[in-house]
Assembly symmetry: C2
Homo-oligomer: 295 residues x 2
Amino acid sequence: MSLQATNGAGEVELGQDFTRHVIESMGPNTSPRLRQVMTSLIQHVHDFAREVQLTMDEWMLGVQLINWAGQMSTDRRNEGQLLCDVIGLESLVDNITYRAAAKSGKPVTASAILGPFWRADAPTRPNGSTITFDTPDDAQVTFMHGRVVCAETGKPIPNAVVDIWQASTNGLYEQQDPNQKEHNLRGKFVTDENGEYSLYCLRPTPYPVPNDGPAGKLLKLLDRHEWRPAHIHLIVQADGFKPVTTQIFDEKSKYLEDDSVFAVKSGLTVQFQERKGDPNASLELEYNISLAPAA
Amino acid sequence: MSLQATNGAGEVELGQDFTRHVIESMGPNTSPRLRQVMTSLIQHVHDFAREVQLTMDEWMLGVQLINWAGQMSTDRRNEGQLLCDVIGLESLVDNITYRAAAKSGKPVTASAILGPFWRADAPTRPNGSTITFDTPDDAQVTFMHGRVVCAETGKPIPNAVVDIWQASTNGLYEQQDPNQKEHNLRGKFVTDENGEYSLYCLRPTPYPVPNDGPAGKLLKLLDRHEWRPAHIHLIVQADGFKPVTTQIFDEKSKYLEDDSVFAVKSGLTVQFQERKGDPNASLELEYNISLAPAA
């Protein structure tokens, strides 16, 4: 066949002509965007295989890893996502997607990856209430509060929804842990007329990503640890503004420089302060969020 | 953090410094080969994401496709493998792996991809016997025979194992089809003292790859058909020789130029001849196999 250069004997080398043939097999009704994405993907995957002279056995191990990721994924766990996270892909794509908002030059809150533990059905709770119901003895309860403002005008945004979730001090989110009640350490708060929200939560602690699947296996093979620095997840959204998905990191935490999923960014570290006179919390955290207008 | 260049506002661009940081997170105990493979893989995956400015939504669709592949895979079906096949990856890796054997310049039989339907436990059958037990009315039974020889000396190889499998005329392999008996159209044949094997099989017919999973979905989105040209699968191995996994294609078949999994190569097309005087077969196929010495 014309797309193969012979190699002395029966076996021929599948070079760039072969890759072009695979790319050009896309039909005229492929959407322009999908054509662009798949052209680049096929080119890079083929170049990768040629560059490292990937063998059948190695490729099959990769296929098994990917199949295993799917087999471990449920509505409560996304192992394919975690596999992407440990090679920095989710952080990169998150950055590509949300960088546009920052191009205005205004101080928009930086984004960070969603991670696999967000739940769409978290309950809305009143400001000043708690998200910690099964508080462990080693936990430090924190009064967290702040204001959601417009990045253009600095004006407060009422009725913004601040969706917050975090792991307990044993490193587990409630859906991973039969000893935590449903929706423990998880809730949505709606800002008041001053754009303010408030709640009681835990000072977060470092924890390892799950190591019983292919992502854990890969980390082990790459001689990397599984730990994430202490963080709280947030999604903040309001009508007329671009939503932001982010994580805030305790500036005193271990693993800020070597997060196993590469989510730490400058501007996302926060400082927990001592809180006095509140029987419900020993620490305080003020965290303000700045959203870019949607238009 | 030093690995991020600021972008005017809070959001920063994750460029080559970020990719280097992810690659350099591999620990000292990573095996040299895995380090080589993962360095190239991470570089290409990151470059791909930046090149097409991949968005979170697009990436998540990819994650879902990959998880779906795992969820559909069983001991009888490998959808992760099929997903690789439709972007030409298995053919490319097969080519990389087995090209070495051909570098000797001797006429070694060319390889082709294994595909997802091989079974390790196929029965050994006597030469001259049949692999077709539920022969459909529209099938053309073929007497297939040939000799396995050494590529260096041309001498016949006795006790070589010729493992053969094919789909029925409805396009299904026996493990996909409750109406075919166990191991129908599948068997191993051991060459005699003259290096010869023989069996009755079907003239193969084109068939579509399974379209009920992510590979089928992708083909549809790429406006490509699902068809494979008519072929018979073989694995041939003998003590002291490099085994070969291959496929032979009916030179009269449709789809030789646009195989949905890109497995067709020059040197792998064969000619079915009329056979006279045999009440069991109307066609004949001679196919000789040449193996490279292992050393």
